[in-house]
């Protein structure tokens, strides 16, 4: 995997070897270039029966279902599902807030682990992988490609992604919804510090474009607990105004705002059929990936 390079910090060979047995499925039909694991909206030559279709001159006679002819005296052709490969596009939030981490690992690093591992698995099973680093806009972009050599570039981008700047996730998602023309698995790795209602529009836009949306919502445990004792001066990591707060005075309201946000986000992801995973940075990323992959596999059938 890494013939002449230093090993990637965000990749663990043992984890990858364990995850290799769990395929990555998409929840929606994909339009790939080659045959793969994922259902295609078109009919193909897989072994999975899809439907019967009336015979029209020119169809391959080998696909005629003689039994149906014997019963109905009509000519029907069997259609089979087509399996195709997956186009997996990672959208990595590289805004300043992704640099936060109180458990020894920052969100960006955690996102690297997730994206790196998923990207490797996707390429191993023949899927295409691409990435877009977004902050104020799209800072880096790599179209999805099946080429294993392309994986190096993918990892390079992951490695070089540095969190800085403001979050303009909404506009970027809308832009990506327009620019990613073919159906793809859109994996968003972000802390989603935007208004849930605005995300609804993004998710619906992406859904309209027939993408399969998966969101890894990265949150630090300290952001969830807000457990401080001393008065704190909070500096916005994205360059916003600082806030001076007495934690024991503002904690209740912080939690109330957090719960309101999480509730609204839950409603948005449910209504938008988004595969949403809230990830705490103190969780083992392997368990997160297993949960993600197994959940998709179950959904597949």
């Amino acid at each position: 995997m890494f013939p002449s390079r230093q090993p990637r910090s965000f990749l663990d060979a043992q984890v990858l070897s364990r995850l290799a047995n769990v395929p990555l499925f998409s929840r929606r039909p994909m339009q790939g270039n080659v045959s793969g694991r994922h259902p295609s909206p078109h009919r193909g030559s897989s072994v999975e029966f899809a439907e019967y279709r009336k015979y029209v001159p020119g169809d391959d006679l080998r696909r005629l279902d003689w039994r149906v002819y014997g019963r109905s005296d009509r000519f029907y052709v069997k259609e089979f599902e087509a399996d195709t490969n997956l186009r997996c596009c990672f959208i990595l939030d590289t805004s300043g807030s992704m640099a936060f981490g109180s458990t020894g690992i920052a969100k960006i690093e955690y996102a690297r682990k997730l994206a790196g591992s998923l990207g490797y698995l996707a390429v191993q099973q023949g899927d295409a992988v691409g990435i877009s680093c977004v902050a104020k806009g799209i800072t880096r972009s790599l179209p999805p490609t099946r080429n294993p050599a392309h994986l190096r570039t993918f990892f390079d981008i992951l490695e070089q992604a540095q969190p800085e700047g403001e979050t303009h996730l909404i506009s970027v998602l809308h832009e990506l919804a327009e620019t990613i023309r073919q159906r793809a698995l859109i994996v968003i790795l972000s802390d989603l510090f935007v208004e849930p209602e605005l995300l609804r529009g993004c998710f619906q836009h992406l859904h309209f474009r027939k993408h399969d949306i998966a969101v890894f919502h990265l949150l630090d445990p300290q952001e969830m607990s807000f457990n401080f004792r001393r008065p704190m001066r909070f500096l916005d990591m994205e360059g916003g105004p600082a806030i001076f707060a007495e934690p024991n005075e503002i904690a209740d309201r912080y939690h109330q705002a957090l719960q309101t946000y999480l509730g609204a986000l839950r409603d948005v992801v449910l209504e938008s059929a988004v595969d949403h995973h809230r990830v705490a940075l103190d969780e083992d990323y392997e368990q997160v990936l297993v949960r993600f992959l197994v959940g998709r596999a179950r959904g597949r059938g």
Binding site: S97, F100, E223, P231, M237, E246, E249, D252, E286, V290
Partner: protein, 690 residues
């Protein structure tokens, strides 16, 4: 609010400590680069009313706890009568103790008198307040004496009840002089009294002088009054108004006149048994009393014919004030009253001689003798009660003789000579005769006291009907007893410590005045002066407690009463005493039988401009003058701390992790071997078969 340790209130600025800590704490902030600003901003936008209110309440509770703790350790006092006057430990505390007979009044349902209650309250209170120095001024002595501690008040004999009336202005003057002489620091004066008018003399000009003197002191002078102003309704006082020995054909009798007075203005009829004791022999008479006063005139008590001199006592059953339930008297065969008239013109003073020689009582022998001035040194002065001097004022030897007579208690009446000289006697000298253009009458005279006083029935003497034609001017420090129109004195008294000296500016001569033709006024004032002289010079004498003029109390021997009195205090305790061959009866003054109490505003007026506080107490009251009230402050502190603790309790956190946990599968499913589960899928893509 007053405090025993007010200097501890200097710690009150510590109340700001919670705010200070809060501000310092806010300065000790940590800076943290934070990602989830979205939630902080939303929290900021939320209503902060309750949170801010809670924060302020917590601070307020902490400040209240500190404040109440400081107040508690400063030992606040409950009673507000001390006002803010008690500001720390004084340098000197002067105690003015009223020991007059009215202070022996007992409280309802108790045997504790006002004086005893006052002593106990003062001992307890002053012990608590503390002082650098203690001084006692009691009503029978004009001397300020140092005492070791307030507890001494309960032990000293000089704080026991006495029969002498108090003189509060004089006691305050003593206090003033003590402060001035000893240059005390911050001083507190404590007065324990029952506010009787006769003790306080509110109309005396000395009050103004005292106020000015206390105001002039540079140091702080605070005056506290412990008042026992309640009057016992129905208390009866008994007094002997007259006693005389009468010789009958076969025996002798005492004619005793009594007067009973009742306090409270009640008119309920009362049958009062009066015990009369004559040197151990007792008899009883019942007096029916309705109204506030009644008299028993000339009650006859038979005595041995041979008993010419003796003593007696009248008493009534115990009531609220035991001090006025007894009265001592002495009796004697009436002594002849002799008047010596020194005159250059005997004819002019014939009327005076007549007035002095006519006895008002058949059993009383009066005589008057006119001698020229040259013979007075050779005269036997034994038994002379009154000297009438109608000559140029005495000088040299004659002046010494007259002064010696005065020192013995005799009375002297000076009438102007025909040709006054420039000689002065005791600072008084005659001036020139003046003819009054037309007959003039007396415009004013003293009817309340002295020799021109009204009769016992209250009728005034016909002084206003006198016609004065010529008067002689007189200069000196005289107190007018009668004045003519225009202010010229007709009769004046020279204040003396012993005896009595009167100056009459006219003579009974018809050319000078109508004294002789009127007769009544001349007779009355001559007889009164004669009686006053005879009273002092007789073998028995009725004395008012505290007034031992012309006597030697240290030589007295107690005959009755005054069982517990010190020999130096006999003059202040009612009883009968023997001074050689003489018998002396000491009793409370007549003013003690009148229960007039000073009104509150009158008392306040007396101390106007001074730092003055007053507390009213009752005899037998168990309530202390001051009560410390640190307990409520400690309770308030505990309540404040509990409230602060309750407000600081963290609110139960909403179940924020419940939704997070719901988003994740359970631990069992997560921890299942992913490889094993992945093996179910195999390495080949899953195919669905129909």
């Amino acid at each position: 609010m007053t405090f025993l340790q007010p200097f501890l209130l200097i710690g009150l600025p510590l109340v700001a400590l919670p705010i200070l800590i809060h501000l310092i704490n806010q300065r000790r902030y940590q800076t943290l680069r934070w990602a989830a600003m979205i939630f902080l901003l939303a929290a900021n936008r939320m209503s902060r009313g309750y949170a801010r209110l809670r924060q302020m309440l917590i601070l307020a509770c902490r400040m209240l706890a500190i404040a109440t703790l400081i107040f508690a350790i400063s030992r606040p006092l409950a009673s507000g009568w001390l006002g803010r006057a008690v500001g720390g430990r004084p340098d000197t505390t002067i105690i003015l103790l009223d020991r007059s007979p009215s202070m022996r009044q007992q409280g309802p349902g108790t045997v504790i008198s006002k004086l005893e209650a006052g002593r106990q309250q003062l001992a307890r209170t002053l012990e608590m307040l503390g002082s650098g120095h203690w001084v006692l001024i009691e009503s029978t002595s004009p001397v300020a004496r140092d005492i070791e501690s307030p507890q001494t008040l309960l032990k000293l004999p000089s704080t026991e009840p006495a029969s002498t009336s108090a003189d509060l202005p004089a006691m305050l003057e003593t206090a003033r002089d003590y402060i001035r002489t000893n240059r005390t620091g911050n001083t507190e004066i404590w007065i324990c009294s029952d506010l009787r008018q006769n003790d306080w003399n509110p109309d005396s000009v000395r009050w103004q002088t005292l106020r000015d003197a206390f105001l002039e002191f540079p140091q702080s002078i605070r005056i506290h009054l412990l008042a026992y102003a309640d009057v016992a309704s129905g208390n009866v006082a008994i007094r002997v108004t007259n006693v005389r020995r009468v010789q009958t054909a076969h025996s002798a009798e005492l004619l005793v006149s009594l007067k009973l007075t009742r306090e409270g203005g009640t008119d309920a009829p009362l049958h009062l048994p009066v015990q009369i004791e004559i040197e151990g022999a007792r008899s009883e008479v019942t007096v029916d009393m309705d109204g506030s006063a009644c008299e028993l005139k000339d009650h006859r008590i038979p005595i041995e014919r041979e008993r010419e001199r003796g003593w007696g006592k009248v008493s009534i059953p115990a009531d609220a004030n035991p001090a006025d339930n007894e009265f001592y008297f002495v009796f004697d065969r009436p002594q002849p009253r002799r008047t010596l008239i020194v005159s250059e013109d005997p004819r002019t003073l014939a009327a005076v001689q007549l007035a002095a020689a006519i006895s008002p009582d058949p059993v009383l022998s009066c005589s008057a003798e006119i001698i020229p001035r040259e013979q007075m040194t050779a005269t036997d002065w034994e038994g002379i009660s009154l000297l009438v001097w109608h000559a140029p004022l005495p000088e040299a030897d004659t002046a010494q003789v007259v002064q010696a007579f005065l020192q013995r208690g005799g009375q002297v009446l000076f009438l102007p000579p025909r040709t006054p000289n420039d000689v002065a006697f005791l600072g008084v000298r005659w001036q020139d005769w003046l003819d009054v253009p037309s007959e003039t009458s007396v415009e004013t005279w003293r009817g309340d006291q002295d020799i021109l006083a009204n009769t016992q029935s209250g009728a005034s003497l016909p002084v206003g009907r006198l016609q004065i034609r010529r008067t002689c001017g007189v200069s000196g420090e005289l107190t007018p007893l009668a004045s003519l129109k225009g202010g010229r004195p007709l009769l004046a008294r020279l204040p003396t410590t012993r005896g009595g000296v009167y100056f009459c500016t006219t003579t009974p001569d018809a050319a000078d005045s109508s004294l002789a033709s009127n007769g009544v006024v001349l007779y009355v004032f001559v007889q009164r002066a004669l009686a006053a002289g005879a009273a002092v010079l007789g073998q028995t004498r009725q004395l008012v407690a505290g007034d031992a003029a012309l006597e030697q109390p240290l030589t007295w021997r107690p005959v009755a009463g005054a069982a517990d009195a010190l020999s130096t205090d006999y003059v202040h305790h009612a009883g009968v005493y023997a001074a050689g061959d003489r018998l002396l009866a000491v009793n409370r003054s007549a003013a003690e039988d009148h229960a007039a109490v000073l009104a509150d505003d009158r008392v306040a007026e007396l101390f106007r401009g001074l730092s003055f506080t007053r507390v009213d107490d009752r005899a037998g009251s168990l309530v202390g003058l001051i009560q410390e009230m640190w307990r409520p402050f400690l309770v308030a502190m505990m309540i404040a701390l509990l409230a602060e603790a309750g407000l600081c309790l963290p609110r139960p956190k909403p179940e924020s992790d419940a939704s997070a946990k719901a988003a994740r599968p359970g631990p069992a499913s997560v921890r299942a071997d992913p490889v094993a589960r992945a093996g179910a899928f195999g390495s080949s893509p899953m195919r669905l078969s129909t």
